[in-house]
């Protein structure tokens, strides 16, 4: 990861610079032609609001990256969009189905990879896939067939008998991705899918996701690795402090510079005061 050492002194963004696309009104109707349409999502913990009425449209067939600093509200927003956390206000519509009004129908169209939450890790990879597939109401033969091909594609087929709890970080992300894919959803929401993943596994995951989008699927992924998002995504949204700072196609959002540049401009960054660590250099 390169550091933005060549950037000019950070400055807060002026309001008119925010967002390349027109900002969405929280009261506007959700766009049912979008793969994921979020309107006015709010969430407070202990009377402190962490997501402030966030609205966002993810076009179908896009590879959508959500970036933001740690604690920006990315995971909270995605949790509300995937049915894990009930929003205080607002709605999330998955391919035309409201997640909180029609949860069963919305979940059937959606595959999710959550970050930082353990799975049922006392199962083997194959058992976990069977569990998720049958839970989704798929028939046993299809589950078995797809499990086999997913395990093969993700290079996990040789790990039969190994419990997920004993998997490495990369293997864990891969088996979670397989669980999210087994019912062939048309929208994938992946929270930090490449966090702590080795380069080989990361390449496998990237290849599968790119092929999935080429086949007409939509991917929403969150990350704080700008280079990853810049290399993979067609669209990007920048979230900071529980608000949407910018969204649109990659070209629209980053403008002339790099995404890192744009991100630092919008979010604001700190510089290390010159000479403060001089004893490290002598």
């Amino acid at each position: 990861m390169s550091t933005p050492d060549a950037s000019p002194a950070p400055r807060p963004a002026a309001p008119e610079e925010l967002g390349a696309a027109a900002p969405l009104d929280a009261g506007a109707a959700p766009d049912s032609s979008a793969a994921l349409s979020i309107r006015g999502l709010r969430k407070s913990f202990d009377d402190r609001e962490v997501v402030h009425g966030l609205s966002l449209d993810v076009p179908r067939g896009s590879f959508y990256g959500i970036v933001g600093p740690n604690g920006a509200g990315k995971t909270t927003t995605l949790s509300m969009a995937t049915g894990l956390l009930r929003p205080d206000a607002g709605s999330a519509v998955v391919l035309g189905e409201d997640m909180w009004q029609q949860p069963a129908r919305a979940k059937a169209r959606l595959g999710v990879l959550a970050d930082g939450l353990r799975t049922f890790d006392r199962l083997t990879g194959r058992e976990l896939l069977t569990y998720v597939g049958l839970l989704r109401g798929m028939d046993a033969a299809t589950v078995e067939e797809r499990s086999a091909s997913l395990l093969e594609a993700l290079d996990l087929a040789g790990e039969d008998g190994k419990l997920v709890v004993d998997y490495s970080a990369g293997m864990t992300k891969k088996i979670l991705l397989a669980s999210a894919l087994i019912h062939a959803p048309r929208l994938l929401v992946l929270d930090e899918p490449l966090e702590a993943v080795d380069p080989v596994s990361a390449q496998v995951i990237r290849t599968i996701l790119t092929a999935y989008v080429d086949g007409g699927g939509t991917v929403v992924l969150s990350s704080h690795v700008m280079e990853l998002v810049e290399g993979l995504c067609s669209h990007v949204a920048i979230i900071a402090g529980g608000e949407l700072k910018a969204d649109g196609t990659l070209a629209e959002v980053r403008g002339e510079g790099t995404l890192v540049q744009r991100f630092i401009d919008l979010v604001g960054g700190a510089r290390v005061a010159e000479g403060s660590l001089s004893w490290l250099e002598s």
Partner: protein, 570 residues
């Protein structure tokens, strides 16, 4: 590495800077003791349970100290001259060291606030850290109370030596040896468990091996406790005169081992046995030196293999998730996952591994005390009914993994029913067979129908109550594989509330059946007994169906909220 550095940087890197020098042992001791003190104080922050536990423990210990003082007062005066007082002292010494070794080993483990592995990245060797780690170990409530107890003993030993001692020369010699010998005893008390645990921690073992070890330790511990209880009950019939000689021999032998040697030395001198005293002093010194070296070796090993303890594991048997007799549906998937967790997650194993011990205990108690047989039988049936509580916190046991169920849109009814079916497959055969065996052993085979049917009814209503409680009051638990002896999740207020309500909900609906059973057993005859059993099963079935229905409705409505309550393991 050197290749990428310029010559100037190499010079910088090789220069001896402050922070890499030697550090005096006393400074290490001060640092580690200070660190332990700070961490110990902080462990009480926002932890009411620990504060209450410590207060209760301290009160017990203070009571024990007062009791010990009075006991010594009586013993010193009562035993007078002769061999009795030295014998009592040697026995107490053996008991002290044994307790310090066994209690951590079987029950609570040693306090690992300062784990040697945490120092692995610092440029210090075990030899430099060891005195500080030892001093930090001495700074704990149990060691302070042991110190106080030994101080009380020392004072009374001195009084006995002066007042009733065998002769001036021996009294003086014994008085000189008294304090060093007793201090050596305390040192050994502190060192032994640490050395054993450091050795165990350093050994590479598989995860499943470690987890099963925890359960085994708990079962052995409970078995010892209950066996002791049964033993005490039957003690009345034993002849004390037969027991005493055996005890004398045992103490005499143990006093030649590290366990009994240190505290025995002053008493040997008081008896004029110089050679014996010298021998035991040598045993004491040698054992302290050896245990110290042994501990250091394990510390060294721990500091160079800080991460190996968590790695490696066995391989699970490869078979289909859904058992052959279950449908290949969401229900079958839940059954299959639950069955695997019953086997692979020690929290479930721990929940049921207690029951065989309890059943044996009640059976043995009934056998030893014939007049209590009916009470013991009732206890067996009640225990069987309470096994249902094992599934009263299923949502909490899932913990963070609940997201998998939510995002997959798991059907609520299958999600709950599958867990009940899995519990039935594992638990039901065990409790039915064990209670049948106990009833035959206690000569109550004639009442087998009401015992088995009543048990079945209680288990059914237990599941119904648990399923409902699990969707109303889930609470966060420890992660899978936590050593049951160290699992603190059951001590939270939520857990207590949930358990109390569930236990009540198991029995209360069964009151009509219990009434019928009492009538039948007190003279109503076998037909009434049978009727009571059938009513119990009927009530149980109704409670289960209602519990499942209400629980499923609740889960359907508020799974995300329940999940947020338990999404972090404690």
């Amino acid at each position: 590495m050197a290749g990428v550095l310029s010559s100037e940087q190499t010079a910088v890197a090789s220069a001896q800077h402050a922070g890499h020098g030697e550090i005096p042992t006393r400074a290490v001791i001060r640092l580690l003791v200070g660190l332990k003190w700070t961490l110990w104080k902080r462990s009480y922050r926002k932890n009411v349970g620990k504060i209450v536990g410590t207060v209760i423990g301290t009160l017990y210990a203070l009571g024990g100290l007062v009791g010990l003082t009075f006991a010594f007062l009586g013993t010193t005066l009562w035993s007078g001259e002769g061999e009795t007082f030295p014998l009592i002292l040697r026995t107490l010494g053996v008991a002290a060291v044994l307790l310090w070794l066994l209690i951590p080993l079987l029950a609570f483990g040693v306090d690992d606030t300062l784990d040697a592995r945490a120092f692995a990245l610092l440029p210090r060797r075990a030899r430099e850290l060891q005195p500080g780690l030892f001093a930090a170990a001495a700074l704990s409530l149990p060691s302070l109370f042991t110190l106080a107890a030994v101080a009380v003993a020392t004072v009374f030993e001195a009084i006995w030596l002066v007042l009733l001692g065998p002769g001036p020369l021996w009294t003086v010699l014994a008085l000189i040896a008294l304090v060093p010998a007793n201090l050596a005893g305390i040192v050994l008390c502190l060192l032994l468990p640490r050395a054993v645990f450091a050795h165990q921690a350093g050994r590479a073992s598989s995860r499943s091996g470690r987890e099963l070890g925890g359960i085994l330790a708990m079962v052995v511990f409970l078995a010892v406790v209950y066996a002791f209880s049964v033993g005490m009950q039957s003690l009345g019939s034993l002849d004390l005169d037969q027991l005493l000689p055996a005890l004398l021999v045992a103490v005499d032998v143990l006093a030649w081992t590290p366990i009994g040697a240190p505290f025995a030395v002053p008493m040997d001198l008081a008896e004029g046995a110089v050679l014996v005293a010298l021998g035991r002093a040598a045993v004491t010194a040698a054992s302290i030196w050896l245990v110290w070296r042994w501990w250091r070796r394990s510390l060294d090993a721990a500091m160079t293999s800080a991460l190996t303890g968590d790695a490696s594991s066995g391989t699970a048997k490869v078979s289909a998730l859904v058992p052959r007799w279950a449908p290949s549906t969401a229900l079958g998937a839940v059954i299959g996952r639950s069955l695997r967790y019953w086997r692979r997650d020690t929290r479930y194993l721990a929940a049921i591994s207690i029951y065989p011990v309890m059943f044996v205990f009640f059976g043995a108690m009934g056998f030893v005390l014939p007049e209590s047989r009916s009470f013991m039988m009732i206890m067996v049936v009640a225990m069987g009914g309470l096994t249902g509580i094992a599934i009263s916190n299923e949502i909490g046991f899932d913990g963070p993994a609940g997201w998998v169920n939510i995002t997959a849109g798991a059907p609520a009814r299958a999600n709950l029913l599958g867990r009940v079916v899995a519990a039935a497959v594992i638990v039901l055969p065990i409790v039915l067979v064990l209670s049948a065996v106990v009833s035959v052993v206690l000569g109550m085979a004639a009442h087998l129908p009401v015992i088995l049917l009543g048990m079945l009814g209680l288990v059914l209503s237990g599941w119904g109550a648990s399923v409902l409680a699990g969707t109303l009051l889930p609470y966060p638990t420890s992660p899978p594989g936590t050593n049951p002896m160290k699992d603190k999740s059951a001590s939270s207020a939520n857990a207590m509330l949930s358990m109390a309500i569930t236990s009540a909900a198991v029995g209360v609906p069964q009151i009509p059946a219990i009434g019928l059973a009492i009538w039948g057993l007190l003279g109503g005859g076998p037909l009434i007994e049978l009727l009571a059993g059938l009513v119990a099963v009927l009530i149980g079935a109704v409670v289960l169906v209602v519990g499942l229905r209400l629980g499923a409705a609740r889960l359907e409505r508020s799974y995300p909220e329940l999940f947020q309550k338990v999404r972090a393991f404690v």
